[in-house]
């Protein structure tokens, strides 16, 4: 990208954050997996960028794009945080269209001067350059679900392939998605209670899809289905998913996503339970 690098190299110092990608899709695809609200908070450190989206103070999604994914990544301060319209950001990142011709790549250079400044995006494809300036906003405090591994009661790792259809066919007339994790039958069960009746999806612990099964205690928790349904996007992109619940019934879903260059990125969803003790179904 001789057109851009020459112009900007001298000005790098004035930017708090500079990030370059040869393939913008390595960023846009991951962001789409958490795009269930208009606004997102971006948090950048020298380790990479974390983008957070929240809803109803009950669910939070985080996308991690580590520094190694970028061809160039510089953060001048300890951390850089801003709030931004994610819809607009995604529209700009896909400004050259979301279905590129095979073999063409859109390059991205992202620059942020600091508090109060807009986020600058330089996108280039086939010699055509587009410059976007997106207003940034006062960062809002993001929820801290206080989810740590030591408090995890049950954990399973599944191949995403096994869950994809199940999630896309979830009975949305059900208000809740009930997740049962247990060392005994049914081991791992997803249940819905909709207008037609109840549905249960059971995964045995010895299934080929089950990469890891560590359940110590029977837990049955319900989560608002409308809050979890958006995670289907992340599930579809991922190859593996880890499902963990802690002693409070808080749910952590972690998706391992391989981008077009084979690099690994993570998306995680946190959700708090809808009820403490569900009625027997």
């Amino acid at each position: 990208m001789p057109l851009l690098t020459q112009h900007i190299e001298d000005e790098n110092d004035q930017y708090s954050l500079v990030a370059s990608l040869d393939n913008v899709r390595n960023l846009s695809t991951i962001l789409k997996a958490i795009h269930f609200r208009e606004h997102a908070t971006c948090f950048a450190t020298k380790n990479g960028i974390k983008v957070t989206v929240e809803n109803a103070k009950c669910v939070q999604a985080n996308a991690f794009i580590q520094a190694g994914i970028f061809q160039e990544f510089t953060v001048q301060e300890e951390s850089v945080t801003f709030r931004i319209n994610l819809t607009v950001l995604l529209d700009c990142l896909s400004i050259f269209g979301s279905n590129p011709m095979p073999g063409t790549l859109t390059a991205l250079r992202m620059c942020y001067q600091g508090y109060g400044y807009p986020l600058m995006l330089f996108l280039e494809e086939g010699g055509v350059v587009t410059v976007c300036k997106i207003h940034t906003q006062e960062p809002e405090e993001t929820l801290d679900f206080d989810f740590c591994s030591t408090n995890v009661i049950n954990k399973i790792i599944l191949q995403s392939e096994g869950l994809r259809e199940a999630f896309s066919e979830l009975d949305m007339t059900s208000e809740v998605l009930q997740i049962t994790m247990s060392p005994d039958k049914p081991y791992f069960r997803l249940s819905t209670f909709g207008n037609a009746g109840s549905s249960h999806l059971d995964y045995p612990k010895d299934s080929d899809l089950m990469e890891a099964f560590h359940c110590n205690q029977t837990q049955v928790n319900r989560y608002k289905i409308s809050l979890l349904k958006p995670s289907t996007k992340a599930l579809v992109l991922s190859c593996k998913v880890s499902i963990r619940t802690d002693y409070r019934g808080f749910l952590s879903l972690q998706y391992m996503i391989r981008n077009e260059d084979g690099q690994i990125c993570f998306v995680e969803y946190y959700c708090c339970p809808d009820e403490e003790v569900p009625e027997s179904s």
């Binding site: 096994g162 259809e165 199940a166 066919e169 009975d171 207008n195 037609a196 009746g197 109840s198 549905s199 249960h200 999806l201 059971d202 995964y203 045995p204 010895d206 299934s207 080929d208 899809l209």
Partner: protein, 393 residues
């Protein structure tokens, strides 16, 4: 009741449910001795569909538990369809499907055993109901044709997906004609539907063709497509039994493991005199096919509404066999019209209509008007058969 469906048959069952969902909103499930029947009827009772799966279709088939009354249930089509929603997924991942009905619980349990040990269990609520059965007898229809479903499938392919009705008839040279049907009001307003499509199939493509030139019936294409897609995927022959316009047309498919019947009401003939004159008098003795349920009050001053609907019968006693009573259909109300053997030539000799507008009324009289023998409608209202009564919930 307990039925176990294995392997590829799960997808066949799913396809049948998809076909039925094109017709009605409620599915009547009844395990009979000679198979599991799935039936539905549309809200205006102008379309009825029934699939019966023979016991051999199942790995295991138990119609009734000894000591228990036979069960019949009515279930929301949407609910049952949700189990079989993705046919691709059924094919790819489902190994076994078990349907069981427990009289004690009010739930129909459908369990899908999938790859990797995954099991999907649906507990669907249902209502007890009476047996749903349409009164019809293919043998009483004078006209019939039979062809591989593929032939008919290819024939309806060019019709626009939004097209509501299609006319099936026998044209010159004993060619089977399918033509898009347009209501008179719509055609008069030429901004709507400027295109008419017609497909003609040679007699040689049919395994059986028993109908004279000039006969034709008009029925709902969307409902027909429902059976057609199933028949095509199962590579079956489709038979169409039909009678005069206004009397239901019966579509059947059959193989050793299942059979299907779709009964669709057909449009009654309108008075050719009024339309040949191009009059604006749009007195139509039939309600528009799109809305069978509420006929225009003026249209039914003397007609019996039931004659336009498929006679339905419900029985409380369970029947050992699916033998349908051979009661003749309640005849549709038809207007007698005198055929004019020369009308065809006359119409052709006349100067053509205003260029750019379709000459629909004349066109139709070319097709229908000239050759049909006059039919006299019976005096008095036709017998009303037992109404479909709601089952107790």
């Amino acid at each position: 009741m307990k039925c176990l469906v294995m392997g590829g048959n799960v997808k066949v069952l799913g396809k049948a449910v998809h076909s039925l969902s094109r017709i009605g909103d409620e599915l009547y499930l009844e395990p009979l001795e000679d198979g599991l029947s799935l039936r539905t009827v549309n809200s205006s009772r102008s379309a009825y569909a029934c699939f019966v799966f023979a016991p051999l279709f199942f790995q295991q088939y138990q119609a009734t538990t000894p000591g228990q009354d036979p069960l019949r249930c009515k279930i929301l089509m949407k609910s049952f369809l949700s189990v079989f929603r993705s046919l691709a997924m059924l094919e790819k991942t489902v190994e076994k499907c078990c349907i069981s009905l427990n009289g004690r619980s009010s739930r129909l349990v459908v369990q899908l055993h999938c790859k990797y040990g995954v099991r999907k269990t649906h507990n669907l609520s249902f209502q007890d109901c009476e047996s749903l059965q349409a009164v019809f007898d293919p043998a009483s229809c004078p006209h019939m044709l039979r062809a591989p479903a593929r032939v008919l499938g290819e024939a309806v392919l060019p019709f626009p997906p939004a097209l509501a009705e299609v006319t099936l008839g026998i044209g010159c040279g004993r060619r089977v004609i399918l033509r898009s049907y347009q209501e008179e009001e719509e055609v008069a307003d030429s901004t709507v539907k400027a295109m008419m499509t017609e497909m003609s199939i040679g007699e040689e493509d049919f395994q059986q063709l028993q109908a004279q030139e000039g006969v034709a019936v008009t029925f709902c294409l969307k409902e027909f497509r429902g059976l057609l897609s199933f028949a095509e995927s199962a590579n079956l022959n489709l038979s169409i039994h039909f009678d005069a316009p206004g009397r239901p047309a019966i579509f059947t498919i059959k193989d050793s493991l299942l059979d299907g019947h779709f009964v669709l009401a057909t449009l009654s003939e309108t008075d050719p005199h009024s339309k040949a004159l191009g009059s604006q008098e749009l007195h139509r003795p039939v309600p528009p096919l799109q809305d069978y349920s509420t006929p225009h009050p003026d249209d039914f001053a003397n007609d019996d509404i039931d004659s336009y609907m498929i006679a339905m019968e419900t029985t409380i006693s369970s029947e050992g066999s699916r033998a349908l009573p051979s009661i003749s259909l309640s005849p549709g109300c038809q207007h007698s019209h005198s055929p004019d053997p020369h009308s065809e030539e006359e119409d052709e000799a006349e100067p053509s209509t205003v260029p750019g507008t379709p000459p629909p009324k004349k066109f139709r009289s070319l097709f229908f008007g000239s050759i049909l023998a006059p039919v006299h409608s019976p005096q008095g209202p036709s017998p009303v058969l037992a109404e479909d009564s709601e089952g107790e919930g």
